[in-house]
């Protein structure tokens, strides 16, 4: 599978490394060139030597998304630090580039649940934290 991940933060970079280890083709896009370090951290080889791709671009730039391979992507993960950026680029991936599987990280539970109803695969870390903390607190 070809997996495109936008946002090389804690979540994006970790999922990227895991996907590459699992034998998939992986491309990562981030506006910050320094975020590349997260992909090399604790690895024996550099990200590129391991077979990964990295593109520096802002998430909303169509040329950047194309350079990162959005037209070939089977899976698209929007994992930047901005909920609204994630929700907009996820819809671009879905509607404009017809990516089969689009996954979006949304920190705000309200927006996460509404956009999930609209057909996006949303992941809400805040909701997981709420559920888990409630379970422990109320145990």
């Amino acid at each position: 599978m070809f997996i495109l991940i936008v946002g090389s933060g804690r979540v994006g970079s970790a999922v990227a490394k895991r996907s590459l280890d699992a034998g998939h083709e992986v491309s990562v896009l981030d506006s910050d060139p320094l975020s590349h370090e997260r992909l090399d951290k604790d690895q024996l080889t550099t990200w590129e030597d391991a077979g990964g791709r990295f593109t520096v671009s802002t998430a909303l730039e169509i040329d950047g998304l194309i350079e990162a391979g959005i037209e070939q992507a089977d899976v698209f993960l929007a994992a930047t630090s901005g909920d609204n950026t994630n929700l907009v680029i996820a819809q671009i991936a879905q509607r404009r580039f017809k990516v089969r599987r689009v996954v979006v990280r949304v920190a705000d539970p309200g927006r996460a649940s509404w956009y999930a109803e609209q057909g996006l695969l949303t992941i809400c870390p805040t909701q997981h934290a709420i559920d888990q903390a409630s379970r422990v607190v109320l145990a």
Partner: protein, 224 residues
């Protein structure tokens, strides 16, 4: 009419002032606390503090009964989402979105956030109106209806100059709807003669411009 404006920058604040002066009911939403405090001194209860991309903030502002939502924050993603949720989640009839970076206009269109207003585009259109070298001025684009109205100046020795409207070779899907001459305008008949220096307004299917402009170009570029 109840209007919610997201973003109390220069645009949002002034819009709110104007609308309040016209007796509209307005709520302005601002997410920066320092800015909110400044605006609140003038607008008092008409401004609320919060992030307008959060559902509860929109609901607290009364989005369920809003007739118009205007998203004019400095962030295009925010403006897109605010309008998308206003329209699709809360059924708000009318929205207006501000485009900060004209390169993002395509995203507003893709997600059906319309009308989307870009200051850069507006200024560019004004420049085109002031600089005749551009020749063609787009006056109105009805995107959903796939029609546009353009203005062209009739060049001195162009093919169209001195011809009757019916004799000007225009592609199917275009029509001369008005002629402006000496500060006045009229709706031409088939036998009205177009003169050099006239401004003609045409309605057309988008994309036909390149077939139309040669007829009006000063050097008469097309075979007559």
């Amino acid at each position: 009419m109840y209007v919610i404006i997201a973003g109390a920058g220069k645009v949002g604040w002034n819009l709110a002032r104007e609308l309040i002066a016209k007796d509209r009911e307005v709520t302005l939403v601002e997410s920066d606390h320092a800015r909110y405090r400044v605006v609140e001194e003038e607008l008092e209860h008409a401004v609320q503090y919060g992030d307008a991309t959060e559902l509860w903030v929109l609901e607290r502002a009364g989005i369920q009964r809003a007739d118009l939502v205007i998203a004019v924050t400095g962030d295009d993603e925010d403006n897109i989402l605010i309008c998308q949720m206003a329209k699709e989640k809360y059924g708000v009839q009318r929205i207006v979105a501000r485009v900060n970076n004209p390169r993002n206009l395509q995203h507003f269109r893709l997600l059906d956030v319309q009308p989307a207003v870009s200051a850069t585009d507006l200024i560019l259109r004004l420049i085109e109106h002031e600089v005749p070298e551009y020749g063609l001025i787009q006056l109105l684009a009805l995107e959903e209806e796939h029609l546009e109205i353009i203005e062209l100046e009739v060049g001195a020795d162009s093919d169209a100059a001195g011809r009757r409207v019916q004799d000007i070779e225009l592609p199917d899907g275009s029509l001369i709807i008005s002629v402006l001459r000496g500060g006045a305008g009229f709706v031409p008949k088939a036998d009205s003669v177009v003169q050099p220096g006239d401004q003609v307004l045409l309605i057309l299917d988008p994309g036909l411009e390149s077939q139309i402009t040669p007829q009006f170009a000063p050097n008469g570029a097309s075979p007559g």
